[in-house]
Amino acid sequence: MLWLAAIVLLVVVVPVVVYLLNGVLQAARSIVPSVEGIAGVAAAGSKDLDAAALLLTTKDQVEQTVAGLANYGGSLDVILDDAGPAR
């Protein structure tokens, strides 16, 4: 009986343990390149957002443009007659 248990342990249990552990190891190793790729993309995305600071300049320019537009519209409102009643 002991012989049978020893043989089972050596022939069955050891390969199963190795197989399972190898699966865990391969799964862990397969995650590494994905994580490295994500890290590269995150760094590139962060670099792409460097131009986001220019939005403040855009905002200022839009404000100035709309202010000029308002002044222009106000002047037109003064020098041009309004439309007559609907025909």
């Binding site: 995150a42 905002k59 308002a70 519209g73």
Partner: protein
């Protein structure tokens, strides 16, 4: 030690060695993953930090642009009237009348006048500045001169006469050649050899 015990010992030893090898390898792989995730977290943190003010800035820009659109639409409708405003917009951007003016929902129910076929492009551009701007020089208080139902030549009436009135009859072009009403006598020396003057004797 018996043979059975030796087999057990070898089996257990193999299991332990497999555990050590694979677990250590797994630990190394997990450490790499951890390092990669740290880099990811740093990058994502930068993204979050850099994109934090974007929402507010874009909202402010949109508000400013909305105000500009409201201003322009309001001014156009005030100066041209709703129907003509829709017609002007549709004349410049065909099909835009279907969308109507944003601040005037009733503009989508209007049938836009075909202003683009009545006005020339220059007049249409001027008309964008105000209602019948060229006409204002002629009849600032009179009725609208534009004939919506007329052809494109109606646009001529919008301009001052001094600029575009065609004279009734322009002087004809001069007629030349054998059939010309004025014939000139041909000179004999034309085409003949040039006469040479004598050289002065010294």
């Amino acid at each position: 030690m018996s043979a059975v015990g030796l087999v057990f010992l070898v089996a257990v030893l193999l299991i332990v060695l497999a555990l050590v090898y694979f677990l250590v390898s797994t630990i190394v792989a997990l450490r790499k993953i951890t390092a990669g995730l740290d880099t990811v977290i740093a990058g994502v943190g930068e993204i979050v930090e850099k994109s934090a003010p974007v929402n507010g800035v874009v909202t402010a820009i949109n508000q400013q642009l909305d105000a500009g659109v409201d201003l322009l639409e309001g001014l156009l409708v005030q100066k041209a009237g709703l129907a003509d405003a829709v017609g002007l917009v549709d004349g410049m951007y065909p099909g835009a009348a279907a969308a109507g003016l944003r601040e005037f929902p009733e503009s989508t129910e209007l049938h836009p006048p075909r202003i683009g076929e009545v006005y020339t492009r220059g007049t249409l551009t001027l008309a964008r500045l105000g209602r019948e701007a060229p006409i204002a020089a002629l009849s600032p208080t009179g009725a609208v001169l534009r004939n919506v139902a007329g052809g494109s030549l109606a646009a001529r009436a919008l301009y001052p006469d001094v600029r575009h009135t065609t004279p009734e009859k322009l002087p004809g072009s001069p007629v030349i050649g054998a059939g010309a009403p004025v014939q000139y006598e041909q000179r004999e020396d034309i085409g003949a050899p040039r006469r040479r003057l004598r050289a002065k004797s010294s």
